[in-house]
């Protein structure tokens, strides 16, 4: 802009988008902008606690609509890119939505809406005054940003945005137990993101760029000379820590059972899956050859994560901690898909992530409702829920089946895809780990059903049964999704396979960021 008069001949179209951004492209940043805006509005009205719920739900409904529109556009036209400040990539920060990012963002938005409705009942006026809903909005801004950004340093920034909002949510209530859990969560997650930042620094030293499409283009030519395998190993460690994979999973069982149950539900559904998302994005799209070299390590970690999750779930009597281990077992399954790395395996991992986002959130909400009805979190004190609340028990049974991966619900298809992919490459032990882990989880959840639902109640009933829409709507809605996907898997299977092949061959992604033909005209679609 402040070009001296002597150098007017500079051609800015090489570095700047000169045409105004098409309205449809704004869709890529709209989810993030929407959530930051609603978070700011909620901060402004923080004293009028009564308004919070309505504003937040309106924002989340809008978020679901925007993410659905984005997914529709991406599946119709391929990846969409928008650059910040009109600086062309690799100079400017690009937001790029491909099928994988868009479908994950939509799943996250749906789950956040369900949790937001549940929170209308679960979070009292004190929790709202403390800022539950603003934190929820900012958490979703971070989550959407992480799914949609096309710049790896920007990904780090969104990780931090969602991390700091998650701290706020985690200590909502300031109980000693929460502070204990939050301290461990905060320190270990901060170290995890710092590891990620170290890897980003090395990546910048090697590539001289932070744009993911640019990295994907340049990786092939640098493969012989640069220590890319070391770099990939660092990224895998950092993201495995965020995803709570064995042996860096210990922060999850130490903290996820301490906050309000709706917060646990959001964390269990969303936060670990962001680690998996970043892992898939970096290892499958940017460094596929290096992932191949590290495949055995990742596979062993995945198998151990699955077994640890299953055994841990068997050993817990607190239902929230039990669900935490079910989440960990799921992470192992998704990592198995990353370890195998074929498009079929990656699509299995993506399917599992989508299933896990919905099913784990529903499972935590369910645990919260069971504890409210039964008056305790411990399996040795719960009982008689079947007689007390038959409909709720039916929904619970469906969700347990889905979470254990039994037919005919949504847990089955990703497991089948992963099993087939691991047998195809001859990794029978990985397939065995998937099956053993599913068996252990089935045992653990069946025991929950046996003790908390079928067993006659050891103590007199504490909670009351009331068909409150703020509970039945989110639980019923999420269960309906799980059932629907279990019975009619075809569209989602296609979607996951499309997302996986878009990662395996990122030509369309790169084309969307660096349009070869339109580069001279300076227009980015």
């Amino acid at each position: 802009m402040a070009t001296p008069a002597t150098t007017t001949a500079i051609d800015l179209s090489a570095a700047l988008v000169l045409a105004p951004t098409a309205l449809a492209d704004w869709l890529v940043v709209a989810p993030v902008a929407l959530m930051i805006g609603f978070g700011a509005v909620l901060m402004m009205v923080r004293k009028s606690v009564r308004l919070h719920g309505a504003i937040a739900i309106a924002g989340l409904v809008l978020l679901v609509l925007l993410d659905a529109a984005l997914l529709w556009r991406v599946s119709a036209h391929g990846p969409v890119t928008m650059v910040m400040g009109r600086w062309l990539p690799p100079f400017g920060i690009a937001f790029t939505a491909d099928l994988f990012g868009a479908v994950m963002a939509l799943a996250a938005a749906v789950v956040a809406l369900a949790a937001g409705i549940f929170a209308l009942r679960d979070i009292d006026a004190g929790g709202r005054r403390y800022g539950f809903f603003p934190f929820l909005m900012l958490l979703m801004a971070g989550v959407s940003g992480a799914f949609l950004t096309g710049d790896i340093f920007n990904l780090y920034v969104w990780f931090e945005v969602l991390l700091i909002s998650s701290f706020g949510l985690l200590i909502l209530g300031s109980e000693p137990e929460q502070i204990d859990g939050a301290l461990k969560y905060a320190i270990l997650n901060l170290i995890g993101t710092t590891l990620f930042l170290i890897a980003v620094g090395y990546l910048y030293a090697i590539f001289g760029t932070l744009n993911m499409a640019d990295i994907a283009r340049k990786a092939a030519s640098l493969r012989g000379t640069a220590p890319l395998t070391t770099l990939t190993a660092l990224f895998i460690l950092a993201f495995a820590m965020k995803a709570a994979a064995f042996p860096v999973n210990f922060w999850l069982p130490a903290s996820y059972h301490t906050p309000r149950v709706v917060v646990s539900a959001l964390f269990g559904g969303l936060l670990t899956k962001i680690g998996i998302y970043a892992l898939v994005r970096v290892t499958i799209m940017l460094f596929p050859v290096e992932r191949e070299a590290l495949s055995l390590t990742v596979a062993v970690a995945a198998a151990l994560t699955m077994i640890v999750g299953g055994l841990g779930a068997l050993a817990q009597s607190d239902v929230r901690r039990l669900v935490g281990y079910v989440v960990i077992a799921g992470i192992g399954n998704m990592m198995a898909g990353v370890a195998i790395g074929t498009p079929a395996a990656v699509s299995g991992a993506i399917l599992y992530a989508l299933h896990s986002v919905v099913a784990m959130t529903a499972l935590y909400l369910l645990a919260g409702e069971a504890a409210r009805l039964g008056g305790a979190w411990s399996l040795s004190r719960l009982g008689g829920l079947w007689r007390q609340a038959p409909w709720f028990s039916g929904v619970s049974f469906l969700l347990f089946i889905a979470a254990a991966g039994l037919p005919p619900l949504s847990g089955l298809w990703p497991k089948v895809a992963l099993l087939k992919a691991s047998l195809d490459i001859g990794a029978w032990w990985l397939a065995a780990a998937i099956l053993v882990s599913a068996f252990l989880i089935t045992l653990a959840l069946a025991r929950v059903f046996l003790l908390a639902y079928w067993r006659p109640r050891p103590e007199p009933a504490a909670g009351t049964v009331a068909g409150d829409w703020r509970i039945t709507l989110p639980l019923g809605g999420l269960t309906a999704l799980v059932v629907l996907f279990g019975l009619l898997p075809e569209p989602l299977l296609d979607l996951a396979y499309g997302a996986a092949s878009g990662l395996a061959d990122p030509a369309a992604y790169v084309e969307s960021v660096f349009p070869a033909a339109t580069m001279e005209r300076g227009a980015v679609r």
């Binding site: 000693p176 502070i179 905060a186 910048y204 903290s255």
Partner: protein, 125 residues
């Protein structure tokens, strides 16, 4: 210049890891601060070390002079400093609060969320 910085960063990381292996929360926090600064130096070194040539295009030219500093790592570091500072402030308060509520700064003694005497689930009715 780069080897010197590499050694310095190594010292930062070594001290940070040593402090983070402690079981007292304040030392862990100090370790995290050192780690953050080590990472900032890593980013700085990653973006090329130069003598002081500011990245400003002189009048009458349309490109940076040779050997100018790289402004991007400085932008990255600025972001990272702001983030790590705010996290440090939060963690400091959280640690103090944990000391008040739990009466200890020893992580081995913080067992409220994961009690030592937690029972296994019942084996039958």
């Amino acid at each position: 210049m780069e080897p010197l910085f590499a050694v310095l960063i190594g010292l930062f990381f070594a001290a940070a890891v040593y402090l983070m292996l402690s079981k007292h929360t304040v030392r862990i926090l100090l370790g995290i601060v050192l780690l953050g600064n080590g990472v900032n130096l890593t980013l700085f070194t990653a973006g090329r070390l130069t003598r002081e040539v500011p990245p400003i295009i002189p009048a009458g030219m349309d490109a940076l002079p040779a050997g100018a500093a790289n402004p991007l790592p400085q932008a990255l570091i600025l972001t990272a400093i702001v983030i790590s500072f705010s996290f440090f402030a939060f963690l400091l308060v959280l640690t103090y609060r944990a000391y008040q509520e739990l009466g200890t700064d020893d992580t081995d003694e913080m067992r409220l969320a994961e009690p030592r005497d937690e029972q296994l689930p019942p084996m039958g009715y």
